[in-house]
Symmetry: C2
Subunit: 592 residues, 2 copies
Amino acid sequence: MPSYTAPTKDMQFVLHEVLNVTKTGIPGYDELERDFTEAVLEAAGKVASEVLAPLNVVGDTQGCVLENGVVHTPAGFDAAFAAMKEGGWTALDLDPEYGGQGMAYVMGTAVGEIFVSANMAFNMYQGLTHGAYAAIHVHGTDAQKRTYLPKMVSCDWTGTMNLTEPHAGTDLGMMRTKAEPQADGSYKITGQKIFISAGEHDLTENIIHLVLAKAPGGGEGTKGISLFIVPKFLVNDDGSLGARNAVSVGSIEEKMGIHGNSTCVMNYDGATGWLLGDLHKGMRAMFTMMNEARLGVGLQGYAVAEAAYQNAVIYARDRLQGRAVTGTENPSGPADPLIVHPDIRRNLMDQKSFLEGARAFTFWAAHLIDRSHRADDAEAEGLVSLLTPVLKGFLTDKGFETAVNAQQVYGGHGYIEEWGMSQFVRDARIAMIYEGANGVQALDLVGRKLAQDGGKHVMAFFDLVKDFIKENDSNAALKEGFLDPLKAASKDLQAAGMFFMKNGMKDPNAALAGSYDFMHLFGHVCLGLMWARMAKAAQEALDGGTSDTSFYEAKIATGRYYMARQLPMTATHLARINSGAAPVMALSADQF
Amino acid sequence: MPSYTAPTKDMQFVLHEVLNVTKTGIPGYDELERDFTEAVLEAAGKVASEVLAPLNVVGDTQGCVLENGVVHTPAGFDAAFAAMKEGGWTALDLDPEYGGQGMAYVMGTAVGEIFVSANMAFNMYQGLTHGAYAAIHVHGTDAQKRTYLPKMVSCDWTGTMNLTEPHAGTDLGMMRTKAEPQADGSYKITGQKIFISAGEHDLTENIIHLVLAKAPGGGEGTKGISLFIVPKFLVNDDGSLGARNAVSVGSIEEKMGIHGNSTCVMNYDGATGWLLGDLHKGMRAMFTMMNEARLGVGLQGYAVAEAAYQNAVIYARDRLQGRAVTGTENPSGPADPLIVHPDIRRNLMDQKSFLEGARAFTFWAAHLIDRSHRADDAEAEGLVSLLTPVLKGFLTDKGFETAVNAQQVYGGHGYIEEWGMSQFVRDARIAMIYEGANGVQALDLVGRKLAQDGGKHVMAFFDLVKDFIKENDSNAALKEGFLDPLKAASKDLQAAGMFFMKNGMKDPNAALAGSYDFMHLFGHVCLGLMWARMAKAAQEALDGGTSDTSFYEAKIATGRYYMARQLPMTATHLARINSGAAPVMALSADQF
């Protein structure tokens, strides 16, 4: 069975030596002293290794079972969920006014990585609650907040998000679920929603569904959509549970992975709901939490791959097969360990260099969200809004690829379910699809985010890269291995942007045909920037006489690998983008 | 449920307009007239669509079940297997002396693609028999051939290959299975083999296991290995079945995919076996059929993806979601079909341009095998030996990627097992692993095949590319879109080869660190060459006044896409190769 150990040392490095959290001046960051964050991460790591990780295979094997309208989660999930609540882990970065611990979002993100790595399907029950909490927290009335938030912060009640219908996925404007206003101010919600994660389960006494539906008078398409709170059990004025609402689970989907999470078809048969936020402004209410939700999915992409990587390393060190081409390294054994072979290392270095870059990128984005929320920094908000589709699309694509690479290290054993590597691949696959399929992320990036606020945020990003290169220009240790490749990659990104500007206006397809490549190109530049920063921090530690030279030297070597072997992808992405719309759009639909 | 239609028109195009099979002068190719091959392919396509494809999901869902030592295949597999035998499909390209139809290998390959696309797991039962047949056909005594081949040609008996042991996968030298010589000339085989595809099942009355084992006196490592025929039931002199042999199935593996094929742990407890080929030359006997076996797996890689692609196209045409950015294309409907969106097309074009290139590459390789076997052409044999690891490694990696892309077109529905797209991904995954994991293919290519016969075969390949470019230099229709990019890609491949020559001698790791990238670089150049040839053939048809302009124009447009958007990958692969061993080998094992 796979194991998992939280990479707390790598996390501490990002928090304290790359992001320098305590020196940012962001309100609430002052408590993030090294000892404090270490204690939190270690404690989370203990829960992850001892409670969550052992249930990961159980969840995959048993899945969720629907019997007489009740969904049974896999054996042990209820006890683990109770332990998570008991430890206060569900409330870490939530509002103290409703029982949360008020910690910074960047800490919630770091702890989130740990829990997702250990058991992605399990963690979704609280993850979705977090999303629903955020929507109510931002858009709810005081009464709604008082009614729902304390129970959601503690995870006594979980939350869900109901968007998709059978015929309306990305195109929510076509949805048919109706909301009819009632005399008492409530609405009757009627319709069917699909792909509802954690839609029904036996972990909590109540489930708070947030449901997009069309109320009369809103007009066509997405304009008519509003957001409603539809609890499984109605809540009495005193906070106790009242009548069962007219919402029920139709079936559980048989999925490729994340079997431990119940993905439900939900039927609303005149269920009682209350408007959340403004009438006919449901899309806006949804989108306010989109950045965080998508960041959460990007995190899933690399967090599952991190667990896969850890096991691949263990296997590569243990499994004896063949001899090193440069001479036997394990003369007393029947063969050398896999890890001596250059192509196994190539594979592991691909994984490691991606994962550490992805973590830095994600923590940085979380820190930008903190800056935007806690320090009211509009520039940080604009920047993270630009980076969100990159983070979601790039990290989930590369995360899946990384999980596949980790599986490959096992040879035939990787294909056997017993070893657990298949599950990582199957679980990681969903992150490329949900919360906006990655093609939609690319569209969001090129079609909306690039030009947002007059293109100001992408210019800010370029300045950030340029300034870093300039500031460190005299740093000989960084120049050749980091700054030069970063400069080249960033130039490719700018050239791609120029291509879109020049051609996208007369032919939008010229930009959209290259959108997916642009998302990946952007992702590589972000990870290149992260690695340049990490290398700088590591070099400073070495120059400062650290005793832990192995750790910091490994950081620099891993960064060099990324710059030398991953960053050259930007040239290929640019070449594809520059080929424009013609090759992509040449065929008629019947020529496929 | 997914559907499948054999792409007979595309196959005919490759056979008759690209490879010009009837004009090659290869013995037996004269019968491959257009009408004849069309009739064969259409008939195979009918069986595939009507009999095999409907069982694909059944096989995945039911899997194989072991009860009291008997493996039950999924419902309907026995009837379908009988239909395959009845139709003579198992004997297509086998030796007429033993009941085969003696057709060219290239035809067996084309028909094989059709059957694998329709149902990969099912087709493995006869595919493995084909491999075991080949070993006995080449290395068996006359008596062995008479005893086993007729029944294997008809698939009254199936065959298996037993190589792997729990601790010995790629490194077969460590195997422990023993063969003790008996007074009557037979051997007693004792040991455990794992990952044995079709190791036990209920489709036939007998199973002929080919087993690698160590007989006394052979020395250490792979030198001591011999190959043995171990039938499930011993065969009496009159051909009737005798006693049950001491071979049994220990368990069936729970796998990520190909559930319809029984992957068995096989226990040999003093089972009676007969030496096949020379004593202690078992590895050589295995390797004589390696090229074909690996070509067969490369074919699986793209054939499964072909089925996934076909369904993705249907879905993209049918599913209404969003509006075209350049203006509504389906004004009478609530939305436009997915296929109007540039990024969906980018995805579908990636799939299509790979699949058609892969088919041409595979048919070409099969044709080289025919040339080598039927026309005794040593150069063709050398060339296909060089290309085999490229074909296996590149086509299975890209085939898996293609299946994932096809799944992505479905959005959330792609993740639900009901739609069948997950199965294509899960099935395609194994082809990257078995018959030598793709890292081993890369090692074989760079460590052995490149330098084979003084590097003569890779030089022959370069000449082939160079000659094609030179011959068509004045062809304006090909120049910019095909010849120029092919020349650039081929130059990258040569530069990579030069890097290995210059650095590989003093440091083998410098070559091996780039081996995987070299395999992919080589694959792209092969597909680039195929596309240049296909474009030329299509252009000739158009110039000749064909009435089917849509088909040939689509070929050229699809080729242009590949050249413009896939071939630029060669530059990135070269950059990685040129970065050498240092980034790959920098860390010590404990720094991962």
